[in-house]
């Protein structure tokens, strides 16, 4: 008993030291290292965490203030997500919901709780309209950006080339998978290609034989995939089995996970995925991560994972948050910023080529800039292609067709605001 008391005392003291020595800006992450989507979650979470560990170790935080980067495990379940949101919202300067379901639930509460949501590359595409969604950010790109870039790529930058073609849209039958549908439908009507939506139910993710039978029968020119978790591996193995030409198969940025392709290896050659980030293994930041995080034994990752697309995307995502914090600190001239100040910071991000070079992240993401009316930044991205062993770049830098996306964003954002009236609109923003 005595022994136990001592241990408990030691633990308390240690924990006390931890909290007093650690940090002052609390940035929680609603992680999912457990559950059905863990395989894709872990590399992302590791990347995000390692970036902030590196910042804390190398620079002593941002602007001299350490970042307490904490994880709250959701297992990708909406119910746990709400639990985590409630648990963290007291001190948090940001919410990173990490699932479209949790985002949908948290989104309407943001105006009341006044905590910015940071959902890089996911969530609700109309969140780009910052006048309506004052507290939500999905920089550097939305799903509609991704869809637009994919169409541009397969049509060689002229959507009229797609006239008369047939494009199958294989997607998870879930808010996430349906997200690009309004955009794709509009484009199909405008440019005269046939869009064939093929939903994959959550229960059918691993067994998509019915969907691929349909694809074989319909013989589409291209298959665009909006998949996540087990669905990606399911679709890719099924495509190999049905001998679908891999070079005509292209996924969104969450469908480009190295481990999913390693299952099929050489057979997956030619599969493509759009991406707003690139793994740059010779970038300066990699050395710092190795020095301050990996060699210090503070990383949960491994070399194989660290060379992958998702780990490096995790780094980019944390960089966006860190830049938001920095922008807010510079503007308000305080170290310990609060949620409202971070909102300003995320709204005034300016990630330039020079800034990326300073961060040692040149080429890992394209330069972008947010404003009060544009919460996405629309950085564009690249097409990555599986060469049998790794994802390599297969295109120049692509940009989304913002001119045609923007009116749709405004329209859908207005619809959302009307359905959730009374909804405050940022009138000051021009």
């Amino acid at each position: 008993m005595k022994h136990f008391t001592k241990m408990a005392l030691a633990a308390t003291v240690a924990a006390g030291l931890c909290t007093s020595a650690a940090a002052d800006i609390y940035a929680p992450n609603l992680s999912y290292r457990t559950g059905p989507f863990a395989a894709t979650g872990i590399p992302l979470m590791n990347g995000q965490k390692d970036y902030f560990t590196m910042i804390n170790e190398r620079d002593g935080g941002i602007g001299g203030v350490k970042i307490e980067f904490d994880e709250c495990e959701t297992g990708y379940s909406t119910e746990k997500g709400v639990e985590c949101y409630e648990k963290t919202k007291g001190r948090a300067v940001v919410t990173q919901p990490w699932s479209t379901g949790i985002t949908l639930q948290v989104l309407p509460k943001t105006n009341v709780d006044m905590i910015p949501i940071l959902a890089p590359g996911y969530g609700f595409s109309p969140m780009a309209d910052g006048k309506v969604f004052q507290w939500a950010f999905n920089a550097p790109g939305s799903y509609w950006d991704a869809a637009s870039m994919i169409l541009k790529f397969i049509s060689q930058d002229n959507l009229d080339n797609l006239k008369g073609k047939k494009i199958a849209f294989l997607h998870l039958d879930h808010p996430f998978g349906k997200e690009p549908l309004p955009f794709l439908e509009a484009k199909a009507a405008q440019h005269g290609f046939e869009l064939l939506p093929i939903p994959v139910g959550l229960k059918e993710m691993q067994n998509q034989s019915a969907q691929w039978l349909q694809i074989r029968r319909e013989r589409p020119d291209y298959v665009i995939m909006w998949g996540w978790g087990a669905m990606n591996a399911g679709a890719i193995t099924e495509a190999v089995k049905t001998k679908f030409p891999m070079e005509n198969f292209i996924g969104t940025w969450w469908s480009g996970h190295d481990a999913d392709l390693k299952i099929v290896g050489e057979d997956g050659k030619g599969y493509k995925s759009i991406s707003f980030s690139r793994p740059m293994l010779d970038a300066a930041i990699q050395a710092d991560i190795k020095k301050y995080v990996v060699d210090a034994g503070k990383s949960q990752s491994n070399p194989e994972e660290m060379s992958g697309v998702f780990y490096n995307r995790g780094l980019v995502i944390s960089m966006i948050l860190a830049e938001g914090i920095k922008a807010a600190q510079d503007h308000f001239k305080v170290g310990e910023i609060n949620a409202e100040q971070l909102r300003w910071g995320l709204e005034n991000l300016n990630v330039t080529e020079e800034r990326l070079a300073e961060l040692g992240m040149t080429g890992m993401v394209a330069p972008f800039k947010t404003s009060c009316s544009d919460h996405t930044g629309h950085s564009g991205g690249w097409v990555l292609e599986w060469d049998g062993k790794a994802f390599v770049e297969a295109s120049d830098h692509l940009t989304p067709d913002s001119a045609s996306i923007q009116p749709l964003e405004v329209e859908k954002a207005a619809e959302y605001a009307a359905a959730n009236a009374p909804w405050p609109i940022n009138e000051e923003c021009k």
Partner: protein, 358 residues
């Protein structure tokens, strides 16, 4: 000692048949009601409301609905989540089509829709029993979730396919949607749950409850003594689905704020079935005990390492949590297969004769 019944004489049939023949039980209930109605709302934090009080009440109500069907009338059902979904979608359609409708009325009415669907899927119960019936209700589960996904009208052709609760007011106060305050939502849930629990207690103690129990214990014997099995089974389906439907509407409107179709998929049905089984089939109180164990305990356990100042990874806590709750479920089912309500009844019996057991 605390539970001594000496001196409490029953002088009339009415007092002998009272809900609480022992005075201490009534006092205990009084304390619980006082806690739920006054003490918790005064002291609880928003976190407690959102992750413990409101979900426990809503899950208890859903389990209560299932218990009417499975525990009292003996009809096994695996479609609970789908019936909750019917309630939620019905409520959503009502408040969007008729924005002037009082939200509380809408929630209570939405149960009627799931009652109708419940009766339709209950018809096979007249011919099939036990596990075979469970499979028939499984059909409802799959069919309805499929319908929620495919029928655009149900979610107002929203591009995300999910339903989102609008801001609703009642007498000038927001009761649902992002603008509503948690304490108001808690009271709405508490009113509905208290009301339906009171109705159910009375139903199960009355004629209807007795016919259900007779049906459960041996249906052809019940038929021989003149019980109309069709009426007995279908009323059980209707009332059970009504309660479950109301629970579904509360689930989305008073707690979640948004719902996608797969929320109402089979894992939720199982969860509610487990609450009912672990709490105790054929008991009212068991639903609450079961919900506290299955819904509340994991949340409480999650906060333990932090409260003790021990730093463990969130994912590890989650794994530990699953192990602890899982082993507790096995533990309770081994020491008392009839559920927590029965366990409490045994403890109470012991308390009554303590300290002089025969």
């Amino acid at each position: 000692m605390l539970y001594r019944t000496a001196g409490q004489y029953k002088t009339s049939y009415a007092s002998d048949q009272a809900v609480f023949p022992v005075r201490q039980d009534a006092i205990l209930l009084g304390i619980i009601l006082l806690l739920a109605w006054v003490i918790f709302p005064l002291t609880a934090s928003e976190f407690t409301f959102q992750t413990l009080l409101i979900p426990i009440l809503i899950y208890s109500l859903a389990a209560l609905g299932l218990n009417v069907l499975t525990g009292y009338a003996g009809q096994l059902s695996l479609g609970t989540a789908a019936f909750m979904g019917v309630g939620a979608y019905a409520c959503y359609k009502m408040v969007t089509l008729m924005p002037w409708l009082n939200p509380l009325v809408a929630i209570l009415l939405s149960g009627a829709f799931s009652a109708g669907i419940g009766v339709a899927f209950g018809i096979p119960s007249l011919r099939i029993k036990g596990f075979y019936l469970a499979i028939a209700t499984l059909a409802a589960q799959f069919f309805l979730v499929w319908l929620f996904e495919k029928w655009g009208w149900l979610y107002n052709y929203n591009s995300s396919g999910a339903i989102q609760v609008p801001n609703l007011t009642m007498f000038g106060v927001y009761v649902a949607g992002p603008q509503a305050s948690t304490i108001v939502q808690y009271y709405v849930v508490l009113v509905v749950v208290s009301l339906l629990t009171w109705v159910t207690i009375n139903l199960t103690r009355g004629t209807l409850g007795r016919t259900w129990k007779a049906t459960r214990d041996m249906d052809f014997a019940a038929e021989l003594i003149g019980i109309n099995l069709m009426r007995s089974k279908l009323t059980a389906f209707a009332i059970s689905s009504y309660i479950v439907g109301v629970a579904g509407a509360l689930f989305v409107f008073m707690w979640r704020g948004a719902a996608e179709p797969n929320l109402f998929d089979i894992p939720l049905s199982f969860r509610i079935l487990f609450i009912a089984i672990i709490g105790g089939l054929g008991s009212i109180m068991g639903n609450y005990l079961g919900a506290i164990l299955i819904v509340g305990l994991p949340v409480m356990l999650n906060t333990v390492p932090e409260a003790l100042g021990i730093h463990i990874d969130s994912a590890t806590v989650e794994h530990l949590n699953i192990m602890i709750v899982g082993s507790l479920i096995i533990f309770f089912l081994i020491i008392e297969p009839h559920g927590l309500a029965r366990l409490w009844a045994l403890i109470r019996e012991k308390l009554v004769i303590w300290p002089f057991p025969h």
